[in-house]
Symmetry: C2
Amino acid sequence: MEALPERNGYLPPTIYDIAKRAKVGIGTVSRVFNNHPSVSDATRKRVLKVANSLNYQPHPYARGLARKRTNSILAVIPFFTTFFFLEILQGVQEKLGELDCDLLLYGVHHPDHVESSLRQNVLRSRVDGILFFSMAMPAAFAKQYAQMKTPVVLIDTYNKDFDSLTVENSFGAFLATNHLISLGHKRIGMLNANIESLPAHQRLKGFQRAMNEAEIPIDPLYVKKSSSTKLDGFTREAGYELMKEFIALGSEMPTAIFVSSDIQASGALAALTEAGLRCPEDISIVGFDDIELASHLGITTIRQPMAEMGAFAAGRLAERMNNLNLPPTHKMFMPSLVVRKSSAPPVVRSVKQKKVSLV
Amino acid sequence: MEALPERNGYLPPTIYDIAKRAKVGIGTVSRVFNNHPSVSDATRKRVLKVANSLNYQPHPYARGLARKRTNSILAVIPFFTTFFFLEILQGVQEKLGELDCDLLLYGVHHPDHVESSLRQNVLRSRVDGILFFSMAMPAAFAKQYAQMKTPVVLIDTYNKDFDSLTVENSFGAFLATNHLISLGHKRIGMLNANIESLPAHQRLKGFQRAMNEAEIPIDPLYVKKSSSTKLDGFTREAGYELMKEFIALGSEMPTAIFVSSDIQASGALAALTEAGLRCPEDISIVGFDDIELASHLGITTIRQPMAEMGAFAAGRLAERMNNLNLPPTHKMFMPSLVVRKSSAPPVVRSVKQKKVSLV
DNA sequence: ATGAAAGCGCTAACAA
DNA sequence: TTGTTAGCGCTTTCAT
């Protein structure tokens, strides 16, 4: 802690300055800026004029102290991922603008840091609420927040005690698979991440439902899951490796594969290229997430409505900040299909024969 | 403005609570938490013990009010771009952690919004300093900040009145071109963005210098620049179109091209694939920026030290906040070469003859 | 409708 | 070394 140099020269005007020049009490000035009804029109106008001429802006910290609310919220996000969060934050911020609320960012590098940040920011009552992204809320804090009724909204993660919003993974997988089916594919596979993870599990469910509804039997050979624990198998490498297994099937290879994430799909594509196979001519691919890469690679995929999710999260947080006793709600968002060039009708190759046994 | 529900039940402890239980005055408690030297070890220990047992955390807003400094800074970033900023913010945040300082995020969608944010946050003295990214500082604010000595650090943009840090574009281009040269290429082209933009201009300079130093004449036909105004031609489409022009050269095509950005390189690659040409076999490509896409596409590129830049920016801002009268400094960061598979030695094709006229 | 005054939780100057 | 006190700029009773 060093000496704290005062901002030179110019000092921002306070309500006292305004009050003096407008010949009113500071209370009145305050009322004007809080839109309190009991100020005469004349006075209000006079105060506003003076305030404008002095370029007055209420000091948020003084306000925060007096009001016991800071008008700012904290976003705790894992910093290793990128695109998804920025898009959501965009939605958050837009909404926050309406609410005259600021956004504090806390990027988590290491899980341990989560706790210290939460402690610092919340217990210090520096923020009015928290947006918590994609991580499991540490149990100790979950308990504490629940009983202190701290406003918390969970995004892309779940805890029964807090508001949460997630994407309907299963429905997205259903959409993806259905797209492939409606393109005319019959031999459809799924390249999944680690089934232990919730999203992977849900996406498998959606795949199965689509296949069942279309009455297409699922060949177990066509359903491959990563056993990687690194990021639950949602990695480029995992996609690459599993795709090689598909390729090893040779002529028995599916004509289309639903891949559980775009990042895996990028690896799958690499494996295909390496094997001299072309997408979509030899095989159609549908991914999931719609990360930026997907558009560059031309991957048909499932998009999550990130901006809306962000806006919704901010809105929900605001509601909760205004009423600490709302019961937690759990909102599901519906993803949508984005068709690009990695999916196409199956090519009727040297029409030998229909595939026989699908088990 | 609605009724403001108080946080139910639990109220955070204040220095008064601590003081009472530790049987000291509030001043002493304050001193302890400000590491003021004149507190006896015994007292300090006692206060700390009580504080810990009560889970006390100083209230940042009260502190801010009294100290006239908020311990938080504002990052103003253009929200349409993504990866680059997150990486820099990572560096920023790491540094900020050391400084016990918070990060307020303001994403700019529309240039108009810049001003309102700056006004709100700075004039309201909500933040101690500003990190301003990749945009031209609006003149009105530049003047005001300069005379108010508001701590501002510019990142990836320049203004003589403020600290700034930028990347040595020219040097990066030099590195890229040199890499191609050292690989043995002689027919080297450059696929540039809109030369009106500063980075495009600087990158051209670096290209020219490398060629000159290697005494390889530059064929004007091999230097193509986008005339697009959209993002100054730093787009996938621009890269795609210009690469088609290169391809149209047929056998006269360069054996290697330095592309002014990865995003353009991705478009260039697409054009190549479309034309049935392979990279690096038929032509080597080096990009610039090292966006995530580059690694997925295997593009050799020039990387900017983003995390370091972020940390440096935060550090510089801190210095300036501690001494408002420092003269502005302008720091250049050196980019580095990342070799991937899009660049390789030229293939000695059906060695017909040396290229004759390079004009 | 308006002014005066008492905090909000803290820092820092001043005494002791 | 310590306690006391006067702000920091604002909101919010309580009078008037």
